[in-house]
């Protein structure tokens, strides 16, 4: 439980950082970067990979939880 709190704090710390990044991008919104090339398809790739990462994270946790249950029983 204690470990989780640390992870969450670190996560929200990263979010604050993202606000700063977003501010930067508003200034140069005309700038064309890698993520904006090829019709912004890389944005979709990023979204899909994020969702996949979330699902994999969830399944890894589930897997280790079941492993623990198996050991107990």
């Amino acid at each position: 439980m204690h470990n989780w709190k640390k992870i969450m704090i670190a996560f929200f710390g990263l979010l604050i950082n993202m606000v700063a990044v977003a501010q930067d991008q508003v200034v140069d919104s005309t700038q064309t970067g890698f993520m904006r090339s090829s019709g912004k398809i890389y944005v979709v790739v990023a979204v899909l990979l994020t969702i996949l990462a979330g699902i994999v994270f969830y399944m890894v946790r589930l897997d280790s939880k079941i492993s623990k249950l198996e050991k107990e029983s």
């Binding site: 996949l52 399944m59 589930l62």
Partner: protein, 225 residues
């Protein structure tokens, strides 16, 4: 931590590859498909995965009939469940794709109808199974019906689709299997398609093993109680 993790890592790597390469590779222009041709990396693996899952389910049903251990029954029903999930996802993704290429989500294409029939046969498996309260009876009858249901996949998904004309690739007068035109698949697309099939299959097998392991723990607990 995670049991036998190497193939799960392979599954995740292949999934990442499917999602990136599947969206980024150059695809050929075929008919009115345009970019939607990329659906072949997501829609078709659903059916490949379903076939694998239903086959594993059948094997475990047969194992149960030879040696009535409740473990085989659990394996059989959990693989059938995820097979059903992939089948339904295949139908839905197919309908979405069809809406924008054939003009309507359901055009009574023989392959659509036959896939729906195959899934309905499996739906009956779950209804039959859940209607029996006695555990051993349920396992035995479900296993017998599973053999019938899996046998029905052969005419509905493998034989009849080759004999009739269809909006899908493959079918009467066309080369290839019911999934796609044999040698027609672009070589670059093939480099993503087969890994995608493995990725989805391994991924869903992982999900199923989690469900099986959970069910086994639950079963052990209730047996001890």
């Amino acid at each position: 931590m995670i049991r036998k993790s190497w193939w799960k890592i392979v599954a995740v790597i292949l999934m990442v590859y499917t999602f990136t390469a599947g969206l980024l590779i150059k695809v050929p222009h075929v008919g009115n498909l345009y970019e939607s041709i990329r659906n072949i990396f997501f829609h078709v693996p659903m059916w490949f995965g379903m076939m694998v899952l239903f086959t594993v389910s059948l094997v475990n049903a047969l194992k149960y009939l030879r040696n009535p251990l409740i473990k085989f029954d659990i394996l059989s029903v959990e693989y059938a469940k995820t097979g059903m999930l992939f089948g339904i996802l295949g139908l839905i993704t197919g309908a979405i794709w069809a809406n924008y290429t054939w003009g309507e989500p359901w055009s009574n294409d023989p392959k659509q109808i036959l896939a729906a029939i195959a899934l309905l046969i499996y739906a009956a498996y779950f209804i039959l199974r859940n209607s029996i309260t006695d555990m051993d009876k349920r396992a035995k009858i479900a296993a017998v019906y599973n053999v019938f249901a899996c046998a029905m996949l052969i005419p509905t998904l493998w034989i009849i689709p080759r004999m009739v004309e269809s909006l899908h690739p493959g079918g009467q007068g066309v080369d290839g299997n019911p999934g796609m035109n044999g040698k027609d698949l672009d070589p670059t697309m093939r480099l993503v398609f087969w890994p995608a099939v493995f990725a989805w299959t391994l991924f869903v097998v992982w999900i199923t093993t989690l469900k099986v392991r959970f069910a086994l723990v639950k079963e052990k607990k209730s047996a001890n109680a």
